[in-house]
Amino acid sequence: MADCAPTPNASDKMASLLKEAENLKIKLEEERAKLNDINLWTVAERLEPIAFVNIKPRKVLKGHQAKVLCTDWSPDKRHIISSSQDGRLIIWDAFTTNKEHFITMPTTWIMACAYSPSGNFVACGGLDNKVTVYPITSDDEMAAKKRTVGTHTSYMSCCIYPNSDQQILTGSGDSTCALWDVESGQLLQSFHGHSGDVMAIDLAPNETGNTFVSGSCDRMAFIWDMRSGHVVQSFEGHQSDVNTVKFHPSGDAIATGSDDSSCRLFDMRADREVAVFAKESIIFGINSVDFSVSGRLLFAGYNDYTVNLWDTLKSERICLLYGHENKVSCVQVSPDGTALSTGSWDYTIRVWA
């Protein structure tokens, strides 16, 4: 008997890994709890409440023949691109409500669309599992010069350009995120970790743009390092699907919105949840959130057709924006913070300012 030492078999290895994971989770919770001395609204208690916000409906953009699923402001702060269940993209002049371009795609349910940083291209996709890039030129040329950049194994739920027109970051129902090179269509990095459909992604506003956040039907939000492909931080607390995630303008916190009818604020430096935006009377899910430029206002689009305005610091609801006649699917503050766009299953997009 040359080798009598029993080699641990796979199930022993597994058991020890699971034990270690369990201990690490307990340690993590303990460390986070240790530093949880006070919550955000207590810190902000002495601050004057926001008495009145003068935000009015200004424009209604009509033209889609089905649910509006996603919108994105152009870097020029004037144009909006929208994508719809009807299989079309429309580029709008939000000042005049004119439709400047139509793009018809060979698919329905275009769940995501995004302007490139230069404003010269749009990326989009959805139930076709693909991310496709169109140059914004004349209508004929746009269709002719389209380029399929990447393909997932399930629907593409969200896309953004992280740094330049050269790269696109996507999230998918296949529970992964992916970074693509636009020119070659090459997969530069894939991001595995979620155990449910990825519903939303957002890029950190500060530094060099190597950090992003994702929200998923596994009820988690992950902070990723784009270069290594690793999860840096993970946040839990939601009781249902996380439909939307957004970085606070400071870059130090993220807001999430969920089917559990709450929005939450997670601080990255404290590594934990610091505020919950919910009321007993609110029983509908949230599809989309965004911050005003200072981060003091949190806008949230709900399934009950309303947009709620929250005071981020005091966790209090300031007011509701009424107007849409179906679920609010997307909300986005314009790049200079002067206006809010909202898209809905009622086929319209509205601009508030």
């Binding site: 340690k27 530093l35 006070i38 810190v43 404290a270």
Partner: protein, 67 residues
């Protein structure tokens, strides 16, 4: 089993990384967040409104004009 094992190794690696994340007190993080928001309040048109509606590019144009 081998695949599960590999997957669990990845999960553990992630948890080890997360356990080593530097953290600050929640009160300190909240103070910093409040400071940021108050410092940027003056730039926030949706919070403060426009100084005059004339500078609001989305305002309705007056449809009547005197001839």
């Amino acid at each position: 089993m081998a695949a599960n094992l590999q997957q669990q190794r990845i999960i553990n690696e992630q948890l080890r990384r997360e356990a080593n994340v530097p953290r600050i007190q929640v009160s300190q993080a909240c103070q910093l967040m409040m400071k940021y928001m108050l410092e940027h309040e003056s730039e926030d048109c949706l919070l403060n409104g426009f100084s005059s509606q004339k500078v609001n590019p989305f305002r309705e144009k007056n449809s009547c004009s005197i001839l």
